[in-house]
């Protein structure tokens, strides 16, 4: 039945008339074009943030200061994180949501197309403000992406610019989240009940609620910083009766759900790729949905595990340890479900599948180091060392970013109408996976042996692993040029993709032609 709608689309070829360049790319209200803009923005920021990571790794290649002074080093670590979190990962997933959510639920567009345009176009301005802070006296923010008070209160005017930029990003994220929620709840094709929704839509629906819940909290925290800095308040200043730890509680009440905002959509993408290439339905769909919801709920009650060393009472430490350990149950359910989906499938290993398997494997490694970090007495030793740096790059790079890369290869034929070069895709996967591990695996050892994070310089016994890490980082960075090449080549040409692209994949997005026409699902498909 759903194929009837595709036929309907073919009858409306006149709708595929695209506006001229400026109107199309600057004034667009089309979910696909806005999705493309988000994805291009995200990829650009991946390179900007990545370049900063390479400056960090170049400085850390040897002990001593060779290239940059510690103040600039701190600017690099701070800006690398802010750009990767708010510029690369979050907008990347919004790009996927824009492209795929309407196609997956059989909607003609997002529910609020003009707001969609606005939520994208805020971002380039927000990041212009953030990046231009390099050129004000004192340089960019240098107090870490967590912007802990009272260090932030010492910062130069760049901190104020970062606060303005964060407010703008927050507005953009909240509008994007509202758009996803309204679209998903109101515009599903007839017959698509909530429990028939594709996993990616489910994970994004839950992510959107997390965003609406916590972005205002972050906005509140940075606003309090701003008034502490300029208007004589003392929320976080002990000299005025304020409390530096209060900032950390507020920040991490935002920050912990934030890490799930960055990983839940990745879980969604993986849950589409694995069944497609295992030629077998996703195992345990409803438990996947409940596990996602459980993770989202737990994410609100574990925040203080980021700050065990601030001197909480024993009872508090015990509560946050137990609650944090609990997260591994629903996360484990997801991993088991993916592995069981592969079990007795008929697998092939095209690039997206390689990425999906890589994500399951490496994300789980990061998840297990996360379980170690949850154990409070041990966390006292891991806290603020390279063990933590290794952990969160395993969940964020080999979790979120590699899932997006897999998703890009998976849906690129649908977006462009061309097949990408499979050999190059596989090479890109192996380069990325291998260099990623050379970069970050040794950091576990560095952290355990006692190297604190955010250090511009280190004692000589940490030299060897830092050299491996720097070597890997440059390999990882250079390998991403291949990613750009593959995407550009696929946009420009290549073997024609069929509507289904893959071998009998599941989902409405595969019922429309490739490339997906400018307007799809003018008439809603009917779900069996």
């Amino acid at each position: 039945m759903s194929h009837a709608a595709t036929a309907g689309d073919h009858g409306h070829d006149d709708h595929d008339h695209k506006p001229p360049f400026f109107q199309r790319w600057f004034m667009s209200t089309n979910h696909k074009d806005i999705g493309t803009l988000y994805l291009i923005f995200s990829l650009t920021m991946l390179f900007v943030g990545g370049a900063m990571a390479l400056v960090i790794r170049a400085e850390l290649f040897q002990p001593g200061l060779q290239f940059i002074d510690p103040h600039f080093f701190n600017q690099m670590t701070t800006m690398h994180a802010l750009i990767m979190v708010f510029g690369a990962v979050m907008p990347g997933f919004v790009g996927f949501a824009n492209w795929m959510v309407p196609l997956m639920i059989g909607a003609p567009d997002m529910a609020l197309p003009r707001m969609n345009n606005w939520s994208f176009w805020i971002l380039p301005f927000a990041f212009t403000i953030l990046l231009s802070s390099f050129f004000v006296p004192g340089g960019a923010p240098a107090s870490g992406w967590t912007l802990y008070a009272p260090l932030t209160i010492q910062g130069g005017m760049s901190v104020d610019m970062a606060i303005v930029a964060i407010h703008m990003m927050g507005i953009s994220s909240i509008m994007g989240a509202i758009n996803v929620i309204v679209t998903v709840l109101n515009m599903r094709a007839p017959g698509m009940t909530l429990m028939k929704m594709p996993m990616f839509v489910w994970t994004w629906l839950i992510t959107a609620f997390l965003l609406i819940a916590v972005m205002p909290v972050f906005a509140g925290a940075v606003t309090m910083l701003l008034t502490d800095r300029h208007f004589g308040t003392a929320f976080f200043n002990p000299a005025g009766g304020g409390d530096p730890v209060l900032y950390q509680h507020i920040f991490w009440f935002f920050g912990h759900p934030e890490v799930y905002i960055m990983i839940l959509p990745a879980f969604g993408i993986i849950s589409h790729i694995i069944p497609t290439f295992a030629r077998k339905p996703l195992f345990g769909y409803s438990s996947m949905v409940f596990a996602t919801a459980a993770i989202a709920f737990l994410s609100f009650i574990v925040w203080a595990h980021h700050m065990f060393t601030v001197g909480m009472p024993l009872q508090g430490e015990l509560f946050f340890m137990y609650a944090t350990m609990l997260i591994s149950v629903p996360t484990g359910v997801k991993v088991f479900n993916w592995v069981t989906t592969m079990w007795r499938g008929s697998m092939t290993f095209e690039t997206p599948m390689l990425y999906a398997i890589g994500v399951v494997f490496l994300f789980t490694l990061g998840g297990l180091s996360g379980l170690m970090l949850a154990i409070t007495p041990a966390d006292f030793q891991y806290h603020d060392t390279y063990f933590v740096v290794a952990h969160f790059h395993y969940v964020l790079f080999s979790g979120a970013v590699m899932a997006m890369m897999g998703g890009a290869f998976f849906w690129l034929p649908k977006w462009t109408g061309h097949m990408y070069n499979e050999t190059l895709g596989k090479i890109h996967f192996w380069l990325t996976a291998i260099f990623f591990n050379i970069t970050f695996f040794p950091q576990h050892f560095l952290g355990l042996a006692g190297m604190p994070r955010r250090y511009a310089d280190y004692p000589v016994q940490f030299t060897e692993f830092n050299q491996w890490s720097s070597f890997g980082a440059f390999g990882l960075g250079i390998s991403q040029l291949l990613f750009v090449y593959i995407i550009v080549a696929t946009v420009r040409g290549g073997k024609k993709a069929t509507a289904e692209v893959w071998d009998n994949p599941e989902g409405l997005e595969w019922t429309v032609p490739s490339p997906a026409p400018f307007h799809t699902f003018d008439e809603p498909p009917v779900i069996r």
Binding site: G64, L65, Q66, P70, H71, N74, P137, A142, S143, P150, L151, Q154, G156, R229, N237, P238, A239, D243, P244, K280, P281, G284, Y285, S286, T309, V310, G311, L314, M325, S328, V333, F336, V339, M342, W343, R344, G345, S346, M347, T348, F349, I357, F361, T364, I375, T376, P377, F380, Q381, H383, F445, A449, G450, P452, A456, D457, V460, Q461, T463, E464
Partner: protein, 421 residues
């Protein structure tokens, strides 16, 4: 011509590659790198190490179990082997099992973790209390409740030219304890429960000695607690670093602890914080410079960190010449250059310049006051409690007559003393 350029740049790249690989492999060949925690020397650190290894092996077991299944499946259930896909999509039994079993494993982990945590947080029945204060960028130590006051600061002792490798001409190779050495060291006895009260003066720092299994944030306005009790027989030097981002020189405020026997410690306390006359220690080659006592002949570096409490006891009747103040000011003022730059030009926007600044060339009183009382909301700390009158006078004099400042002013200790109250 184009070809030769290509060859040249290729040669450069391959030279860099060779350099990279030789550094990597020669580095590894002679490596003394560690893969795991430092050897624990307290009971708590041993408990943490045991807990860490327990969780680690449980995680390894889970990892191996899950991914053997996955890789077996990848190997066996592939289309190229014409494996026919099954179509099952759920099994309530399996799903209940893999929710319950991990939960049980978590309980098994949580029990020992809870026990260790309760032990770590029990700071009662301590035999010695030390107050530790974090500063940008040094540590201050005060021994509390002893018959005599012992307090001092500990600043990085690694020479600047080992750190700065920008200028290869003046750079020196890094020493064995590069970035892990301080001018003064915290001296503690083994076999006694020591409680530390931890706070900070400006921003958040964290006091960490890996071998003791202790790490706690030093937060302004808070007094945190931790305790450790080093095993008898484990006397020696232990090193750690600041573990919470505290600004520019976060990486340059290490922590060095010298653990001595109880008897040696008592001797050290009796001598007012000195090992002079403490037999067993005096015979060994000095591991560090444990000198704390004020001595007119001590070097100017030590002079710079002399605690004000002791230093202000000195008679200030001496008549200072400008030259003397300038010499002393240069050495005391070395600490200022961490922020204000070795050329006194600072970093515009965050660390103001001394060279040509309104403070250092304007009214003398403003200059003395900012050194003594700091500037709230910035990294400029109040040094009235850290430096004595002579030191402050010397620093101010030096700064008003160097970095291109030519005020000709001479500030005397009496000028500083007048502002103390």
């Amino acid at each position: 011509m184009v070809l030769s350029q290509h060859i040249k740049s290729f040669a450069k790249i391959s030279a860099f590659g060779t350099f990279l690989m030789t550094t990597l492999f020669s580095g590894l060949a002679q490596a003394e790198y560690r893969l795991n925690f430092q050897d624990p020397v307290t009971e708590v650190a041993r408990d943490i190490f045991g807990l860490h290894m327990l969780i680690f092996w449980i995680c390894v077991a889970i990892f191996v179990a899950v991914f053997s299944v996955m890789f077996y499946s990848i190997f066996a259930h592939r289309k190229s082997k014409n494996y026919e896909p099954a179509q099952f999509s759920h099994s309530t039994t399996v799903e209940i099992v893999w929710t319950i079993v991990p939960f049980i494993i978590l309980v098994i982990m949580a029990i020992p973790a809870t026990k260790v945590l309760i032990k770590m947080e029990d700071t009662t029945k301590s035999e010695l209390t030390i107050k530790i204060t974090g500063y940008q960028w040094k540590w201050g130590y005060d021994y509390l409740g002893l018959d005599q006051d012992i307090s001092f600061y500990a600043t990085l002792a690694t020479p600047r030219n080992q750190i700065d490798q920008f200028d290869k001409e003046n750079a020196e190779p890094q020493g064995e304890n590069y970035l892990l050495e301080t001018d003064n060291v915290l001296v503690v006895p083994s076999g006694r429960k020591i409680r530390a009260l931890i706070t900070a003066n400006d921003v958040i720092h964290a006091w960490w000695i890996p071998a003791f299994g202790t790490k706690k944030d030093a937060i302004p306005g808070y007094i945190n607690e931790l305790w450790f009790n080093v095993d008898v027989g484990k006397e020696g030097i232990y090193r750690g670093q600041c573990a919470e981002l505290c600004g520019k020189d976060h990486a340059f405020m290490p922590i060095v602890v010298q653990v001595v026997t109880g008897a040696e410690f008592d001797g050290w306390v009796a001598a007012g914080g000195s090992f002079d006359g403490v037999e067993s220690i005096a015979q060994e080659p000095p591991l560090e410079t444990p000198e704390v006592k004020v001595d007119a002949a001590t070097s100017s570096v030590i002079d710079a960190i002399v605690p004000a409490a002791q230093a202000s006891d000195q008679p200030s009747s001496k008549t200072w010449t400008k030259e003397e103040l300038m010499t002393k000011g240069e050495s005391v003022g070395a600490n200022c250059l961490a922020c204000h730059g070795s050329d006194g030009k600072g970093i515009p926007g965050v660390f103001p310049a001394i060279a040509g600044s309104a403070i250092a060339t304007g009214p003398i009183d403003d200059h003395i006051k900012i050194v003594m009382f700091g500037k709230p909301g910035t990294a400029m700390a109040a040094f009235a409690g850290q430096l004595n009158d002579e030191q402050i006078a010397a620093v101010v004099t030096y700064q008003r007559n160097s970095f291109g400042n030519e005020t000709g002013d001479v500030v005397l200790p009496a000028d500083v003393k007048a502002k103390r109250n």
